[in-house]
Each structure stands twice: as C-alpha cells, then as structure tokens.
C-alpha cells in the first residue's frame, strides 16, 4: 500500500494546489467585480443625491426622501453632509455637530470625488463634493464591505468543500487506478513466495492486455521451466533409487548447506560444482 499512498498524496497535493490557485484567481475576479458593483452603486447614489442637494439647497431644502432611501440599503452604514470638517447633517442626529476627522482621521474630503475602502475594518466611504453655488459641501456615503467579506468567505468555503470532495472522489478513483497496477505486482510477489516454498503448481495469471500481463506470463513460464526441471530431477531420483541408496534423495530433498554444516564428511561425496558453490556462499 506504500506505493498507493505515495501516488495518492502526490496527485492529491497537485490537484489541491491547482484547485486553490484556480479558486483564488476566480475568487479575486469575483471579489473585484462585487467591489466595483458596490462602488458603482454608491457612486450613482452619491451622484444623484448630490445633484438633488445642489438643486434644493438654494431653497434651504434637503432631499430627505432620497437620503432616506439610501439608508434602506442593506450594506448602508451612514450618510453625512459635511461643511468643512464638521458634520452638518447626518442620518443619525447624534453625529451632527461632530467632526468627521474624529472618526476617519485618514480620510480627507478636500480631494473631492473618491472612494475610500478599508478592508481591515470592513467599510467603504464614497465622497462626493456638492457645489451649492454658495459653498462646497461634501456628501459622504458610508457602506459596509460585509458583502465582499461574505463573498470571500463563500469562496474559501467553496474551495475547502471542493477540496474535501476531491479527496473523496480522488481517493476512490485513485484506489481503483493504482490498484490496477499494484494488484498484479502483489500477485507476482505471492507467486514468488509460493515457488520459494516449492509449490510449483500455482499458476501466475493476470487477465489483462498490458505489460503487466506480459510480465506475469514470463513469470509463469519461468515457473513452468523450474517445474519441468524439478520433475526431471524427481524422475532421475526415482531411476537411481536403490543404486545410491537414500543418499541422493537426502541430498536433493534436504538443504545441502544444512547437511554440510552438520557433517563435513558429506562434502567429500558431493559433485565438484556443488562443492564450489557451497564454498562460495560461505565466503
């Protein structure tokens, strides 16, 4: 199974890396789109409201209905109308008369129309200058970036869920794919063990049409070759039975090495070639 795990994890990590990278790329595009949508939305609202303020300001009127409609947006945080740094009018009365710099020291409204995004604190501010003819006011529309964060979270969760699902699907599919290669190897190994134990009748067969089946066929031919020689030896032994007594049988059937270790005299009756191989193995 080691081979299986090695293959499985290598493939899984490659796949996971591809998934994460692809997820990040797609996600970042989606986030950018959403962010742009939000900015566009507040930009349009700010533009229209600023125009309404400009037209009504000369009559000492305010477009409260339009401003109130903005407040109904789900991601809306606040609307402020600034005169200089001071909040002249706001959706919540408690902010009127306070200084905008107390809340957002880094945001400078003097720069005119712009958007300020703060992902750390999850908010954005769209600033629009309002030219009343008498003085310049600034309309600040604050909005939450919660929607973008939610989308980010959704993307991460999707990537994680997709990865988990891929573990499951890949695990099952890799099991079958890798098993196709490891099973014949395991079978050949079992055959070899069987031959080692002297069982030369077990057929090594893989039903397939690939290199592994060719290997299995060769292996089986090797088994058959050994079996033939073994059968020949056995028939020879049978033929010589009684002429050399039991010695030949003992020599063939017992482990020669073991016999030599127990009794050195046996060595003297062994054929020359066998004696040489024993000597070599001892060295």
């Amino acid at each position: 199974m080691k081979l299986f795990y090695k293959l499985f994890f290598t493939l899984f990590i490659i796949f996971l890396a591809i998934t994460i990278v692809a997820g990040c790329i797609i996600g970042s595009y989606e986030l950018k789109d959403e962010e742009q949508c939000l900015i566009d939305k507040y930009g349009i609202m700010a533009g229209l409201t600023a125009k309404e303020i400009e037209s009504k300001y000369t009559e000492s009127k305010w477009p409260f209905e339009a401003l109130s409609t903005i407040s109904e947006n789900e991601d809306f945080l606040f609307w402020w109308v600034l005169k200089g740094d001071g909040i002249y009018l706001a959706d919540k009365v408690s902010f009127i008369g306070t200084a905008s710099s107390d809340y957002f020291p880094k945001v400078d409204n003097k720069l005119g129309d712009k958007v300020y995004l703060n992902y750390k604190q999850n908010y954005g501010i769209f600033i629009k200058s309002v030219n009343t003819g008498q003085e310049t006011l600034y309309l600040w529309l604050g909005f939450s970036l919660k929607e973008i964060q939610t989308l980010k979270m959704e993307i991460i969760i999707s990537v994680i869920a997709f990865s988990l699902l891929s573990i499951l699907i890949l695990g099952v599919s890799f099991y079958f794919v890798i098993s196709h290669f490891t099973k014949p190897i395991q079978m050949l190994s079992e055959c070899a063990v069987s031959i080692k134990k002297g069982n030369l009748n077990k057929k090594c067969e893989i039903k397939a049409d690939d290199e592994l089946s060719v290997l299995a066929d060769s292996f089986d031919e090797m088994r058959l070759g050994i079996k033939d020689r073994n059968d020949l030896l056995n028939s020879l032994l049978k033929t010589f039975q009684g002429k050399f007594g039991n010695l030949a049988t003992i020599l063939v059937r017992k482990n020669v090495q073991e016999l030599v270790d127990k009794n050195q005299r046996i060595k003297s009756i062994l054929p020359k070639s066998l004696r040489k191989s024993i000597k070599k193995s001892k060295e």
Binding site: Y5, F9, I13, K56, S60, K61, W62, P63, F64, E65, S68, S71, L77, F78, G86, Y88, L89, D91, K92, V93, S94, F95, I96, G97, T98, A99, D102, Y103, N118, K120, Q121, N122, Y123, G142, S144, L145, K146, Q149, T150, K152, M153, I156, I157, I160, S163
Partner: protein, 464 residues
Amino acid sequence: MKKINRIFLICLLSCIIMISGCAQEEFKLVPKEKIKTTNGGITGTEVGTGWSANENPEEAVKEAVDMALEGKTNKNPDFAIIFASSGSNLSLILSKAKELLGSKIKIYGGTSDSRAVMTDKGFVKATEKGYEYSKMEGKRGLAVMTINSEDIIFGVGSADFSAYTSVHEASKAAVINAILDAGKQTNELPDIILLTPTIGDEEEVVEGVEEVVGKETIILGGTTGGPTQAVFGEDKAYDKGVSLAVIYTNLPIGWTFEGGFDTKMPGSGIVTKVDGQHIIEIDNRPALDVYNEWLNGEIDRLYEKVKDPAEIRDLLTLSPIYRKYTSPSGQDYFLFSHPWPRDDTLVDRAVSTSTKIKVGERIYFSKGTWETLVNRIGNLPKNAKIKGNIELNKKPLFAIGYICAGVMGTIPESEREKLPVLINYANNNAPFIAPFTWGEQGHFPGVGNKHGNLLTSFIVVGEE
C-alpha cells in the same frame, strides 16, 4: 501515517486561518463629542430650555427646570412655558413648577401629543404610537422654557370651560385676565397672544379672544395634544379649557403660520351638510365618496391594505382639504383641515376633521410629502425672521413653535429627530420650545385669526 497527520493538520489550520480572516466584526461608529460653538452675549433677556423623559412628573419638572436654569443669573424667571406629553399629570407638574420657580411665576402651556415634545436641545420622544394606542405605554416627555426679561412683559390667563356659560365667555375672561396679569388695561392690545385651547372648541375660543383684542391682534397657538388633553390654569389643570399668554414688547417679533402642501391639485367642492366637525356631504353627495374620488380611490385601497384606522389617518395627513381666504389686499391664505373617515369600517360615508367647516364653504384638495413638511418645519425660523425683519444670520432671543402632530406622524421616525437640528440651523441655535398639537391657530393679515389643521406656527423674538 505521521506525515499524513501532519499534512491534514496543516490543511485544517490553513482553513481556520482563512475563515477567521474573513469573519470580521461589522463596522460600527460611536458618536464623538460635538464641536463647540460660541453662544451669544448676555442681554436683558435670559432664556433657558430644558426637557425630561422621566415618567415621574415631579422629578421630570425638576430635571427640566434645572436644565433650563443652568448658568442663568436669575433663578426666578418671569415666565415659563411648559408642555408635557399627553397622559402626564399636569396638576402635579404645575404645583412642582411653582415650587421650583416661585409662586409668582406665570405659567402657560398644556399637553403636547403623546409621542413627543421638542426644544432646541432635541426631540423628546415619549410614546411609540399616537392617538388612543398611546394610552398603554406610560412613557412621558416634558419640555420647559423659562424667560426672564427686562424688555418683555408677559401676562397669563386661563379658563375652565365648565365654569362659564360658554366657551366664548370663558375665552374672553381668559384673555382679559392675561392682559390684567401683564399689568395692562384691556384697551392696550398685546403684540402677540399665545393660545392653547383643548380640542373641539377652537373656533369659539379664537372668536372669544378676538372679541376682546380684535381681528388684527396676532394669535398664534396650538390645540393641546392628545389623546388625553389638559391645559394649565393658575392653580390647577383643566381638561376642557384654555391657557393663553399675552406678550408686550418693543423687541422685534417675527412669526409665521403656514402649511406645506401643494395647493395646485384638482378637486374641490361645496360643503352641503355638516354635523359639528364632521362633513356629511360635499356637492350633495356623501363626503367620503367625493374625497375618495379626489384621491383616486386611495382610501378604499388603504382600508383593504392596512385596516388600521390610525395608520389610514396618518396617511391621509398628506392629502388634506383646505379653505381659501383672500385678504382685502388680494393675498390668498390657505387654511388646511385634516380629514379622515368618521367610521373606521367606512360604512358611514362622513368625513371627520378637527375644524368646524360651515355649510356653503368651498373646500379644495391638496397633496404633500413628508420631505416637504420636514423642510417646511426646518425653514419656520427663516420665514418668521423675514416677516419680523430680523436678520437671517442673527441669533434671536428665543422662539416658540406649534407643530401639527399629524404632520409629525407622517415623518418617518428616523427623521423626526432632525427637526430640532434643522430649526436650530435656521434659528442660529437660539432656544425654542415646540409642542406637537392637534390643531393650530394663527393669523391671516386682513382676514383675522383662524383655526386649522396640519399647520405650523412659529414666533421668533429678536434682539433690539
């Protein structure tokens, strides 16, 4: 297997870090300290305003009076205007105010609508719901204005209608008492009269007062707010009566009495049958049928949709009827009335108002939006200043307003708190008090004083 565990652990940790990185808290702003503005210098008139939302009437008066007198050199003012949200115990408020301000204090006022009272210091919210639905809530609001002046003479008068033969007589007595209280003779006409009658008899009250001071004396006021109403008397509160104050001064006074509706709408008719404050027929047809036609069937649709009579009543505030008065100089004035179905089930087709419209009078249909009304309220000081020749950018000494509770009811709750802010901007942060009333009285030059609905009156007293 150790390697696998390690990989799994790394993956798990990465997931947690990524998710926790996204799960940030929502951004919240907490209001900071306001930018300090400088107040005007000391003059011969000291005015203070205070408010309280305490449900205990005595504690509420103490809180509001303490706030009004804070920093004042004279802790015993000449005159106090007190308005408490409907349901407040006015008798207790009166006795406590006298205890705190001295028995010689001249007190004028009564109940404001159950939902709120207002001063320059803010919108004091009391009950959530208006009309009869407010009775269970028990929430209260109180507003006080104290004035101590070398340049203004005040006189107060009141009358309990049940103590007189008629409302007319009671009103005459009240204004005469007020003039005498100011140390003047009845032939010395006040510059302005502040009027607060209880509901249902406003026309008679105005006529009674006019009988003493004439049609050209300016009366500005508002009917007590409900659902339970009362006015301050000298020693006790009256459930059916009138409280008024007369003002004598050489200081410039600006005032305005106006509505805020579009009077160019089609739809008008002659009232052909009435029953007190109810219009039974317009052009010899059931009044509600005619009014509903002017609204393109809106009343029936509303009834099907909302069912709640109070809500229908609030919504119809933006579609009032009005009468037109033309002064000898040719100036048109519009007197609005708030109509609503007399019968909650709409079976009876009469239209109720809180004004007495006479048979033969022509009524017109008008329309408005809450935004127009908010802006109109915000511009009251400006309009009053213009009429009183008071410089627009000059801070007046004080102001008194009467704002229709029906108008307030049409303004979304979130926007109501902006009313004092807007008034303060136009009034240069001068102290003011404004109850929410169930009818308004005001002056049309050349025509006289009238009682109507859905109107606002505002008085500004400037410096010399």
